[in-house]
Symmetry: C2
Subunit: 759 residues, 2 copies
């Protein structure tokens, strides 16, 4: 029987004291000697030719050290499709297009200088609707491409949907839409670019992908004529990322160019306004879905077509269909699947990763549609879901090999805690609804490597330094990694220091995404810690005259599990190994790359080593007079493999749940002709503490064989099923179905009125 | 035939651009937010009771945050014998005794506050001469010890000196004395102590022993009641150390205590005056030496007795006899040896390591005495030395196993370049002299471990990060380590970054001393680099279908030495290893602890894995009217194993030679009743650029089998034989022998006059 001392414990985040006392250094806090402040001038039009830029007045302003336009380093292109010049020349394609930048001795002078730059435009006709943008004759965003439709052929086929449609007893079809929403990081984006005397670059940044950013910067330096230069990425504390910092952006390259030109460190930090309009939101979608089942309620097919507004340039948002496929192909057992998606350039803002990476959009359609199908099939939605639920050992149509799967347990937990049978179907202003999720839980091979490196060293007294590639952006990976290492080496959590913010010091990691950090970085840390543990036990075995297999380490001591008399302090073993002829100190490295698979050309492959499941259930009350929806109870049950730290895990669930509630009920970026109209916390409805409903996080442990101590990922899942669970509960309460997020009181009221008219 | 691309090249120091442009951050440059400035009040008397300290006025001065006396943390003791409280209470024992300290918002306020502290003393009788201090009834420095003689029984015996004396054909006996000299680091000592919210300590410091300092600080925190705390030592750039920073000192603990008390970072940086009087100089010595030889000139015995003035407290200076034994037992073949040394407490300043660690003092006596012996034996000093010279394969009386030894080659190089036979013995105001040296060249096991750890990681493009425990205090270890790693991994020197200044990031190392860094840290770096090289070759062997043994790496490519068609870029191998199923990135760790030996109780044992040799020869001109000695030519020939970087190696020889010249001809700290009278660069005669004679560095390569690429240590040797070579040349020039360093014009003139009187 295994027993753990730190794994499974509710240990506060290691960085909590620093953060709580204001001692954590965010990018806003960092200053370098001689540092200049950079500011960016954005476009006045969503689509226009740049006729002329006069920077002369700005250049003459005292304190201004450089004014830069797109003519500097004009060949540089960034982003997933390399379609984005950091400073635009020739034309602008969205309101967030960067047309000029200034470096000055103070942010105020830089701001003033922006106002002195005179840009002359010739406005072009613009397109803001992806469906319009696909039409013949629509204004082209990138003329050289000849079309606004991106060459990203998202298409997944399994079974025979046409035949299944013919054979189905029940079929539903509907269209669902989701809006742009944004991450609302309290720590806005920012960086400091600093070249040293060798033209090697250090970038201080709050990126969540230090290793990939490093590569991006190296490539960009090449475009500047700086070959074979070293780039170091140093991460400040990160005040939230949620996918927003999963790419590199124009502002980083502008800081780099300004630093190169001025030979001074240049800092660019976004204002709250910039954070709203100049960072990339969650991809908005239009989804047509059709699902069918047999008379007994077995799902037979799922067909989905999506249109995604790509905006003017391409970041990772355009690749969210790869993750949307996950629930589309594999949430519930569905033999025949057809999915296609088109990303379309428009003159809107361009999108990016956001927690869940397309999964919430797809799951909103799937799980709403499922309730509709259950209804016409005359089956209780819980029963319908149980009947079709995924199970361990399953291989899904996309080729996912399901190892652990606690989906049914999650459903049952939710049903029981919600009093499902007691409350369901009364349709009297109160109702219950549920929705489930599948997500990657054991990494996700979306890049050429899904790996993470770890180096561990231990001193003579049992203090441990862990260098991990993993990024802690607030999710608590530092603490979880420290727990696993402490457990493995038998020391206290306070004895472990995790270093995770410097590409010089830390090994490579593909980045903080895909809920992969606990699983992948955890396994990497475990791999290195086990090497040291084995070495310690080997030495202790000799000293204690015991078989190493009979030895264990806990609380700073190595002891025999067979003979309690045989024990020795770890420090003694460490020092005897060090202070002897041919002395050795404990160091180890490990690179863990999970045995998952990149998709093949048909988008098949075991994307993740294991999969996370969960079910959310809500009870809502709907005010028939106002349309106002109140969430009375929120149960979030998650199959997490094992909870390394239940407190942090619950924090992930609570935080994601609230984000999901915002997505379901209130958040929406309002763009008018490409211009954001509610880019501030007064007009953009971010949920706050007073909006939190009673949330209950239920942890279902399935002890995954591949996970570190059995753990699977939990970073993203908590917001995936929120919106459909609420939509389903509203339907249960008042009989109206909202298919367009967010589910505002106005929409509910309108639907209620239309329903009244019909009856 | 091996050929090297970076090893053996004259590559400028990697940090030279930073230093040359003023971008290197020394401790003087570092600032932390909220940092306070600490200042120390020193004793007014060399020996006195402290009756009372009134700090009330100082405490009331605006800006003063803490005033501290010895009553705070009064149990804390530091130093080699733990005889030194950082802040004294009860009594003071030397003029540099710390009696109080202040932390204030500016250094000026702290200074002003010192003047407001009122200390009442009762003066005690003091003793400043170690011979007087040994006498019955002398004032006791540490009453509780009952004696001023330290319980450090330095004593080495080999053969039978008494019998050898009887058998000797010729015997000389004389007494030699050497003064206190100080390191004169341009970067004065300093630190910043900063506690975090967990009471873990970060110490920013210019120490040359980060790992041992870390342990000292951990122990000190224990005395503060802070158990199991983590200490991180971060090294700033170091503006010279030369042994002065080989221990931890009161000022560091005072900064720590003030930081603990004020909860703010506290910086203490020595003024130039403090650097002179409050750092610990080279141990001054009184040495009686007797040597004898056969009629044919074979050395038969060497007997030496030393008295060392230990000052009031004990640092590593008291242990210099351990290294003095090295030339005493093993420079030239001497079958019978007797050596004893006594360290004696006085009310003087206490001593510390300084480049050569006692070897210059011992070698001055040995090599001066050897010329005297050669003279009475009627043998040319060169011939006499060649006859008795050490040779490869020898095991010396102390148990040193001599592997490589280029001593005779060094002598011959010197003799030839100096035109020894043409110039020797004319005694007409010009003369030539020589002296040789032995020093540890392959580490020195003076601590329980002589090890150094290294961690190396390599990115996908061939950039390499090397984490070494080794300290670069200006000697260039960063560059030399980078060269060895670059050579091994076939990349350019610019592709290698060495991280060497942070105990969190870097593995353990015993410190920068004993000329061990190139050898020990080099072997550690090589061990890790070879692991990666082997891994790369193994992968490349498969790709190229070639036996790994036939593969080599140069200039970023792996190629077959048998078939030039078979080659591939390293980057391709790195990326294919990374971007494949179960991907791996190149990381390796290595802890190298040389197979040398701690001395046994009889001070026998193979202290170093290999030994460095050298011979210096000088031609001098002596002005008979003034006694002024001018060095006309200086040849320094060194057996270095292999020159990894001839330019840096020559720099070590030039720098040490100049330090040796200062020791020989001018430097001396003048103490009067314990008070330093010439503690500034006006009154203390440090040689400067205009004093540099024509120096020729001659590199003799013996390719040591244990050294990295065959290298041995060279950090210290260059000043060891300078003084006796000059003393011998003066004797050759004008027939007077000066036995008391420095050899000032006054002493030479006095000796010339006495000689005139005698003749």
């Amino acid at each position: 029987m295994e027993w753990f001392l730190t794994v499974g414990q509710r240990i506060p985040k290691k960085d909590a004291p620093l953060k709580a006392t204001g001692n954590a250094l965010y990018i806003q806090d960092l200053r370098l000697p001689g540092m200049l402040h950079g500011k960016i001038l954005y476009s006045r039009y969503p689509h226009a030719k740049i006729l002329n830029i006069d920077t002369s007045k700005a250049e003459r302003l005292p304190g201004v050290k450089a004014v830069m336009t797109g003519s500097f380093a004009s060949a540089l292109r960034i982003g997933f499709m390399k379609d984005n010049p950091p400073l635009k020349s020739g034309k602008v394609c969205s309101m967030r297009d960067e047309v000029a930048a200034v470096a000055a001795t103070t942010p105020e002078i830089a701001d003033e200088a922006l106002g002195l730059i005179d840009v002359q435009y010739e406005e072009l006709s613009a397109v803001f609707d992806p469906i319009e943008a696909m039409k013949e004759g629509a204004p082209l965003i990138h003329e050289e491409l000849g079309s606004n439709i991106l060459k990203l052929p998202w298409r997944f086929i399994a079974g025979d949907v046409e035949q299944a449609k013919k054979d189905a007893a029940y079929i539903v079809e509907n269209t669902y839409t989701t809006p742009w929403v944004t991450h609302c990081c309290l720590g806005t984006s920012g960086c400091i670019a600093a070249f040293d005397i060798n033209n090697d670059l250090t970038m201080y940044s709050n990126t969540q992908i230090p290793s990939l950013a490093q590569k991006d910067y190296v490539d960009a330096l090449g475009a500047l004529g700086l070959k074979n230069k070293k780039v170091r990425v140093v991460q400040s504390f990160i005040g939230g990322a949620f996918g927003s910092k999963l790419d590199t952006y124009s502002y980083e390259y502008i800081a780099m160019l300004l630093a190169f030109k001025t030979r001074k460190p240049v800092k660019i930090v976004f204002s709250r306004e910039e954070e709203f309009f100049a960072t990339s939101p969650r991809q908005c979608t239009i989804t047509r879905i059709s699902q069918g089942c047999t008379r007994e309620g077995a799902l037979t097919f799922r067909e989905m077509e999506m249109i995604l507004d790509n905006g003017a340039y391409t970041s990772w948002g355009a690749t969210t269909p790869s993750v949307m496929m996950l629930p589309i192909s594999s949430l519930y057992k569905v033999p025949s699947i057809k999915y296609t998606a088109q990303c379309v350039y428009t003159n809107n803002t361009y999108s990016q990763a956001m927690r869940g990476y397309g999964n919430p959009q797809a799951t909103f359609a799937i799980e709403s549609s499922l309730d509709q199908l259950a209804e016409i099939a005359g089956i209780d939605p819980l029963e319908f879901r149980r009947k079709n639920a995924n199970e361990p050992g399953e291989i899904t149509p996309q080729g996912f090999r399901i190892t652990t799967c606690g989906l049914k347990d999650c459903m049952d937990e939710v049903a029981s805690r919600l009093d499902w049978t007691g409350k369901r179907g009364r349709n009297k202003g109160r109702g219950v609804g549920m929705a489930s999720l599948i997500h990657v839980g054991g990494g996700a091979r979306v890049y050429k490597s899904d790996g993470c490196g770890t180096i561990i060293k231990m001193d003579d007294f049992g203090k441990v330094d862990v260098f991990t590639g993993a990024t802690d952006m607030g999710q608590g990976s530092e603490t979880v990694i420290a727990q696993m290492v402490a457990e493995t080496l038998g020391v206290g959590i306070e004895d472990v220091t995790v270093i995770n913010n410097d590409t010089d010091a830390c090994p490579w990691d593909v980045g903080a995404h895909a809920s992969r950090t606990t699983f992948v970085a955890g396994n990497a840390a475990l791999g290195a810690a086990r090497k040291i543990r084995d070495h310690l036990l080997e030495i202790a075995a000799k000293v204690l005259d015991e078989n190493p297999e009979n030895l264990d380490i806990k609380k700073g001591a190595i002891f025999s599990t067979k003979d309690k008399e045989k024990n020795i302090a770890i420090g003694k073993i460490l020092r005897s190994a060090h202070y002897s002829a041919h002395g050795k100190m404990m160091m180890a490295d490990y690179f863990y790359d999970p045995p998952n698979e990149n998709f093949d050309r048909d988008f098949k492959g075991n994307l993740s080593v294991s999969y996370a499941y969960g079910t959310h259930g809500v009870e809502v009350e709907v005010d028939r007079e106002t349309g106002q929806v109140t969430v009375l109870k929120y149960i979030a049950a998650h199959d997490v493999g094992r909870a390394i730290n239940p407190m942090l895990l619950e924090g992930q669930i609570y935080g994601a749940g609230l984000m999901g509630l915002g997505y379901a009920l209130g958040e929406k970026m309002i763009f008018e002709k490409g211009k954001l109209r509610n880019g501030n916390f007064l007009d953009y409805k971010l949920l706050t503490a007073k909006d939190v409903p009673p949330v209950e996080a239920v942890i279902v442990e399935t002890i995954d064989k591949d996970g570190p101590f059995g753990a699977k990922g939990i970073g993203e899942p908590g917001l995936v099923p929120t919106a459909p669970a609420i939509a389903n509960a509203i339907y249960d309460a008042v009989g109206v179905r909202i298919t367009d997020l967010p589910i505002t009181a106005e929409k509910v009221l309108k639907a209620l009125k239309e329903k009244e008219k019909r009856t």
